[in-house]
């Protein structure tokens, strides 16, 4: 069968299936013919390899049976309308809808109950706990005569604690200090901000939650007059260990000098920039939309970064790097030698990556159009350099490879559709 005959049969016999599906299948088969012909096969050979169209239709139908598929079924039913079957289907559908509705109602009801319970719980707790109630109130009171900075000092122990900071549009600085308790300090740049953005504390045994909530109502009008300039400083004692979660919408975040390597740091931000300096952590996990990210110094066991358009630059040594960006560029500079083996996993759509590593490393990079430049220095083991891009260029340099490595498997694996590859092994 020639290509034309095959494709015509395919299109005819797939009539009635979902249009988008048919389009995808025909585009795929076109490409198969193209690749086959380029590889020296005849049209007949490719057609034979593709198998009979009837077989495909049979297979498609057999996969459809379990779940009625929209287009085809509706079409075929229209052509041979069967009242009895229609009634059966309708009553089945009715039962199904009622079943789902019942479930929805039930879950809404339990959800509401839970919300009510927690609200009641919060109220009763506030009433019984007079100190936190006062604190709560104090931050709520708007008084122009008061100083513009507000403080809160947490009361309890600092090991295995969760700190949650929700800064909204405020900048957040978190640093290690010679204090004994966790302290929050809010510096309002203007009186207006203090009025509009009160902060709340929820302080329990296992967690301290700090939250700035924009005040709703008439006063919110002022928020449109100018941008805010609020700065939250969180001081953490040296003995602290636990988990820290910081989130902001537009505020920048800066974290410094955390030194307990069991501590986990989670950061979420929309457009705020993030800086992390000299921190020893077990985990750093960030999720950003457009903010840039800079990591410098310290030591982190596992770094997990995801950003849409923010750039990432780091020189922090880590056992495991996982970076995912859409258009952000990635710059990793790990030229300071370390004892342990490291792994880098970088995924971008159009972001470029520059990776410089001294010592043993595994690198896994994939991108659609991002370029990669990779430099490995004094690397004995690189058993898994895997590079995969569609149109990006890449340049790989392996320098100063020490003689007599331990016989580990080595492999540089790169794949590209239209990019250039340059590999330099010295």
């Amino acid at each position: 069968m020639s290509k034309e005959e095959y494709m015509t049969e395919l299109k005819t016999k797939l009539e009635g299936f979902d249009e988008e599906l048919v389009q995808e299948i025909t585009a795929d088969y076109e490409e198969r013919f193209k690749c086959g012909l380029e590889g020296g096969k005849s049209e007949e050979e490719v057609a034979r390899e593709l198998g009979s169209v009837d077989e495909l239709v049979k297979e498609l139908n057999s996969f459809k049976e379990d779940k009625e598929d929209s287009c085809k079924d509706r079409k075929s039913e229209k052509s041979s309308f069967n009242e009895q079957k229609f009634k059966e289907d309708a009553s089945e559908a009715y039962d199904e809808v009622m079943g789902v509705l019942g479930k929805v109602f039930k879950s809404v009801k339990t959800g509401l109950n839970e919300v009510m319970k927690s609200v009641e719980g919060a109220f009763s707790k506030r009433d019984s706990d007079s100190t936190s109630y006062e604190e709560y109130n104090a931050t709520n009171e708007m008084d122009y005569g008061m100083p513009v900075s507000r403080n809160y000092t947490a009361t309890h122990d600092v090991s295995d604690l969760n700190i949650i900071v929700n800064g909204s549009s405020a900048d957040v600085d978190l640093l290690m200090c010679d204090t004994e308790k966790i302290a929050f300090n809010v510096d309002y740049g203007a009186h207006r901000d203090e009025m509009l953005y009160p902060f709340y504390i929820n302080d329990t045994d296992s967690r301290v939650e700090f939250r700035i909530i924009k005040r709703e109502g008439n006063s919110a009008f002022f928020a449109r007059c100018s941008s805010t300039s609020i700065k939250v400083t969180v001081s953490v004692p040296r003995s602290f260990s636990g988990r820290i979660r910081i989130s902001t919408a537009s505020g920048d975040i800066k974290v410094q000098d955390l030194n307990n390597d069991a501590t986990e740091l989670y950061i979420d931000s929309l457009s705020g920039d993030l800086e992390v300096y000299n921190c020893n952590l077990s985990l750093l996990k960030t999720s950003e939309t457009s903010g840039d990210l800079h990591l410098g110094g310290g030591l982190v066991k596992k770094i997990d970064i995801s950003t849409v358009s923010g750039d990432v630059s780091t020189d922090v040594p880590a056992n495991e790097y996982s970076i995912k960006t859409t258009s952000g560029d990635v710059d990793i500079n790990n030229t300071a030698p370390v004892e342990f083996e490291r792994s880098y996993c970088v995924r971008t759509t159009s972001g470029d990556a520059h990776i410089k590593v001294c010592g043993d490393a595994n690198v896994d990079y994939s991108s659609i159009s991002g370029d990669l430049s990779l430099r490995l220095d004094k690397t004995k083991i690189y058993h898994k350099i895997h590079v995969d891009t569609v149109s990006g260029d890449r340049e790989i340099n392996v320098l100063n490879k020490p003689a007599g490595d331990g016989g580990k498997e080595k492999c540089i694996n790169t794949k590209t559709v239209s990019g250039d590859i340059f590999i330099n092994l010295i």
Partner: protein, 104 residues
């Protein structure tokens, strides 16, 4: 092969192919149909289902050699599903192996 069984396995194959990178349709069907006896077109039905269930997302990338290519991307939900299916798969294979006496 039993179609339900095959369908489940194919879902896992497709999801796992997307775990490390986004691929477009032909890349996917080529990889799978090389290893398995299946009409490549069938996979598009599976891809469609997975997309409808929120396991996959698609985006178009212009191509020099013809129409724009539709790339498939694994969502967080899809990733979770993949891990779940993979674990189930290995457990299943282990059980079958045991029953067939291939493992002691």
């Amino acid at each position: 092969m039993n179609s339900q069984f095959k369908k489940g396995a194919l879902e896992l194959c497709v999801l796992s192919q997307l775990k490390t990178m986004d691929r477009y349709g032909y890349q996917l069907t080529d990889a799978v149909s090389k290893q398995m006896q299946i009409a490549p077109g069938t996979l598009y039905l599976i891809l469609k289902r997975l997309k409808e269930d929120g396991m996959l997302e698609t985006y178009l990338v212009e191509s020099d050699e013809g129409p724009a290519r539709k790339y498939y991307h694994l969502t967080a939900k899809g990733k979770e599903k993949e891990e779940e299916l993979e674990a189930e798969w290995f457990e299943f294979v282990k059980a079958v192996d045991l029953l067939l006496g291939k493992e002691n």
